[in-house]
């Protein structure tokens, strides 16, 4: 069944449309705008539901000349991701009004959250590389606004900037990767199909891979796209922005970490998996994913803040998904898709629960929390379901997808020759999982044990805050009890779309009934985790001590060092280039222009013509021009303003005579009028100004050198361009000459061009002159008027501030405003 274009368009545009009118909604609904947002998300969810089971491409022409279209591809994988984004979006909107109660800037919050959801749905459904890139960067932009929601908080600003730099930077890698991909795809998808059509490429995965390899672009494109996916999905060593992003309000964190931003990279890796599946793919993504999974699980154990713990655990689970997709077997696809689904449910719930804890206890520090089950019994029950699912404890949902990962690591060597990685992959997977068990138990332990004395007044959360985590926990419970239900409903369709050879395998999950290597690995991981839990504090401390002794091991350290260096260098450069002195600006601009122009000539091997075929201008003209140059020299050496102005006029009049000699009577007439006017104006102005002489002559040599450079560039340019001029009359000149009389009714061709053929240009010219005239008038006349108002104001200021000193800065401020 093909999807409906109208429905898909409505789903993608509705969040943006409502985001646009959010300020109006805030005015009428106030804090209840969150419920309107939930309605929009639910609307998108329902519309997406109508497309359930459909598959195919729909498109809307956008930039036909570049073959760029708003093209959407709907299949199981796209629907799974879009449904998660809108469904969890609805729950987050439902949770927001109670959580964000009393905060200011809600219009910005809801607008950004809606646009964010729309961009995620856009990425899920888009099938055009350009559209994917645009939505990709839109998510970065929206997350910047959301993470930096507390605009007056320095840590919030820092985190927002970091997320923006890392993810937008990664997006640029994706852009380059896309362009290279489109370059290769043009031949593969054939004429009639756009080279940007990802769906068309996915239809021919083998041909695409062969073409990429033949062009020698397979590894570069794979690498570029991997960098983009790694920045979005917080893979080591680009994971550091994610824990910092916890500066965002908790509902945003829940959305950001569960179903949206960070899953974009995973989603995209799953999407392009059939195109790139190969040994390189396994080496890259399986290694990257398992490294991230282990390192971030360790860092989660080292966390001191409940949101930090969850943030690192998100990165760790993203590593698990990436690793799953990294294995090219069908089990790999099952791991990636099923874990993405499970993780979205339990992690959104966990963040919302963390929000409740922070909201009701007033702290997020792990060591200040404990024994909360008495005060928050419902929350404790919900946490048990989702935290055990996160830890991969049977029979909770996370167990099934982690079991699949173990199976994929064991099976990897059946498909590719991996050398020592063959046994390293399973070992690392088990090692990382031990820490997953550890931190999951630690989170659950918030509700058990002794309640610290500092926590004496823990309020019951309002019911509305509990609805969203309860729904998510209930879904997790359903998946835990009957994983096959989820598989049949949506996961299988996602696997078919991401598998390398789709349709060959039906997925089955359930509690193991007999021994297999994966079961053994699960037993080791869970057993070790539970056994090690009593030593949690010492493990926690020893991991924390590592980055303190070796700072460069922390990714944050690198980020800070690079940013600091860039900031310093930028400030230094600005002080050199932008110092408020006209001559500095002129120097840099002119030097850069000359160097670029000359470099262009050198790069194109332009040869300076040497054939000197007599004089190129008539002798009278040459004489007049040399007089002009002499006049120019006199202007430069003039020691008074009057002398300079008169010699400048000689130069102008010489040029006018040159125009006469060069068959341009109209130019000569204009030039004569203009020169006369300029002379008069100059003399009028100079009369008001005392003679001014150069004070210092220190920079003469340097200025002369620059002038010679500019002159030489102009000399070479004129030589080269006049030499390259086509012989004879140009077609355009011929056209105007022939049509001047029949169409313009005039014999003076230049005049006909100006007032008939190109009269709009002349109108523009007149506007420029009029604007200049008005500006001059303003500058001269308004001065007098400015004086009047200023004297009024300063008299008031004097009364207020009893003295002239207060009036001094105001005056200089005002005059600057005027002269601008």
């Amino acid at each position: 069944m093909p999807p409906e274009l109208s429905v898909v368009l409505a789903v993608v545009t509705a969040p943006f449309a409502v985001a646009g009118v959010t300020p109006l909604l805030i005015r009428s609904l106030g804090e209840k705008t969150g419920y309107a947002g939930a309605a929009v998300a639910a609307f998108c969810f329902a519309l997406l539901g109508t497309q359930y089971g459909s598959e195919g491409t729909v498109e809307l022409a956008w930039i036909p000349s570049l073959e760029v279209a708003l093209r959407f591809y709907v299949d199981g994988w796209a629907l799974l991701f879009a449904l998660l984004a809108s469904g969890i979006g609805a729950l987050v909107f439902l949770y927001s009004p109670a959580y964000m109660h009393g905060e200011s800037g809600l219009a910005r919050y809801y607008a950004a959250l809606l646009a964010f959801m729309g961009s995620i749905i856009g990425i899920a459904l888009a099938a055009d590389l350009i559209a994917i890139f645009l939505f990709w960067e839109l998510t970065s932009l929206c997350s910047f606004v959301l993470i930096g929601f507390h605009t007056d908080d320095a840590s919030s600003q820092y985190a927002a900037r970091m997320a923006m730099l890392v993810t937008v930077g990664g997006g640029l890698f994706v852009l380059v990767g896309f362009l290279l991909l489109a370059f290769v795809a043009g031949d593969v998808v054939g004429p009639g199909t756009s080279a940007f059509d990802l769906a068309a490429m996915l239809n021919r995965p083998d041909e695409m891979q062969t073409a990429l390899r033949e062009a020698g672009l397979f590894v570069p494109v794979l690498g570029l796209l991997a960098v983009g996916a790694a920045t979005k999905s917080a893979q080591v060593p680009l994971h550091f922005w994610l824990p910092n992003a916890m500066a965002a309000p908790t509902p945003v964190s829940a959305f950001l970490h569960s179903a949206t931003m960070v899953k974009v990279g995973v989603y995209f890796v799953g999407r392009i998996r059939p195109l790139f599946a190969s040994l390189e793919w396994v080496m890259l993504f399986a290694t990257l994913g398992l490294a991230t999974m282990t390192i971030c699980a360790l860092l989660a154990v080292a966390a001191t803040d409940i949101k930090e713990l969850l943030a690192y655990s998100t990165a760790s689970h993203l590593g698990l998904m990436i690793a799953g997709f990294g294995f090219t077997s069908i089990v790999g696809a099952e791991t990636g898709v099923f874990h993405l689904f499970n993780h979205a449910l339990f992690k959104a719930a966990l963040f919302l629960i963390a929000g409740i804890i922070a909201h009701e206890t007033g702290t997020r520090r792990l060591d200040e929390l404990g024994g909360l089950r008495h005060d928050l019994p419902v929350t404790a029950f919900l946490t048990a379901i989702v935290a055990l699912s996160m830890g991969g404890i049977p029979p909770f949902s996370g167990f099934y997808s982690k079991e699949l990962l173990f199976e994929a690591t064991v099976e990897a060597s059946h498909h590719h020759d991996l050398g020592p990685l063959d046994w390293l992959y399973p070992v690392v997977a088990v090692f990382g999982s031990i820490f997953t068990v550890l931190y999951s138990l630690r989170f659950l332990a918030l509700f058990f044990g002794r309640q610290p004395d500092s926590l004496d007044h823990v309020h019951r959360p309002p019911v509305i805050l509990l609805v969203s985590p309860a729904v998510l926990a209930a879904l997790t419970a359903v998946v835990s009890i009957d994983p096959e239900l989820a598989v049949r409903a949506i996961v299988q369709a996602g696997i078919d779309a991401t598998a390398v050879d789709p349709g060959t395998h039906e997925m089955h999950v359930g509690l193991p009934t007999s021994y297999s290597p994966a079961v053994g690995m699960s037993a080791v991981a869970i057993g070790s985790g539970v056994l090690a839990y009593p030593f949690y504090d010492s493990i926690h401390r020893s991991i924390r001590s590592i980055p303190r002794t070796v700072p460069p091991i922390g990714a944050n350290w690198w980020y800070d060092a690079i940013i600091e260096r860039l900031t310093d260098d930028g400030a230094w450069l600005a002080s050199r280039v932008h110092n408020g002195l006209l001559r500095t600006y002129a120097t840099w601009t002119l030097t850069a222009t000359c160097v670029l122009a000359l470099a262009g000539f050198v790069a194109t091997d332009a040869a300076i013509p040497t054939a000197l075929a007599g004089l190129d201008v008539p002798i009278p003209a040459a004489l007049v021009l040399s007089l002009a140059v002499v006049a120019g020299l006199a202007v430069v050496t003039a020691d008074s303003h009057v002398a300079g102005i008169l010699t400048l006029s000689i130069l102008g009049f010489m040029i006018a005579i040159f125009y006469i000699l060069a068959s341009a009577p109209d130019l000569a007439l204009t030039q004569l009028v203009v020169e006369t006017l300029v002379l008069v104006i100059f003399l009028l102005v100079v009369e008001e100004i005392p003679e001014y002489y150069e004070v210092s002559l220190g920079r003469i040599a340097r200025d002369a050198a620059l002038s010679v450079l500019v002159g030489a560039t102009a000399f070479i340019t004129v030589l080269l361009t006049t030499d390259a001029r086509p012989v004879g009359e140009s077609a355009i000149a011929r056209y105007y000459t022939e049509h001047a009389v029949p169409e313009g009714g005039g014999q003076n061709i230049v005049n006909v061009i100006l007032v008939d053929f190109r009269s709009f240009d002349t109108l523009g010219e007149l506007v420029v002159i009029a604007v200049a005239a008005i500006s001059i008038l303003t500058l001269i006349v308004m001065r007098a008027r400015g004086d009047e108002t200023r004297s009024d104001e300063s008299s008031v200021a004097i009364e207020d501030a009893e003295g002239g000193s207060a009036n001094e800065p105001r005056e200089s401020h005002e005059t600057r405003g005027e002269s601008e």
Partner: protein
């Protein structure tokens, strides 16, 4: 045909104009602007080819009849004409701006003005 004389003149005017642009005296900066725009106009006209003025070469037709003759390029002349007028506007504005700056700050020294920022 290459244009050594024109190239030399344009290059020399550009160099002189640039030198003036770099002066500290704002009035001299305005002169520099004026000279550079004159040079650019000459260059533009040169691109259309220079021919000694005469009855045949001037882009003004003698009659309404058929068979128009080949004249010098009228297009560049139209462009230069526009450029002259715009250059006039710019020079006048820059000059009055300098005058105004002098009235406000009692100096025309660009370095001194820059330091006040």
């Amino acid at each position: 045909m290459s244009a050594f004389v024109l190239a030399f003149v344009v290059g020399a005017l550009f160099a002189l104009g640039t030198f003036l642009l770099l002066r500290r005296d704002l009035i001299r900066v305005v002169w520099g602007l004026a000279i550079v725009s004159q040079a650019a106009n000459v260059y533009l006209l040169a691109m259309g080819g220079i021919e000694l003025g005469g009855f045949e070469t001037v882009p003004i037709l003698a009659s309404h009849g058929e068979g128009v003759p080949e004249t010098t390029d009228p297009v560049v002349q139209a462009l230069v004409l526009t450029a002259i007028v715009i250059g006039f506007g710019m020079t006048a504005f820059a000059l009055v701006l300098s005058y105004r700056v002098y009235e406000e700050h009692d100096t025309l020294d660009a370095s001194e003005l820059g330091d006040r920022e």
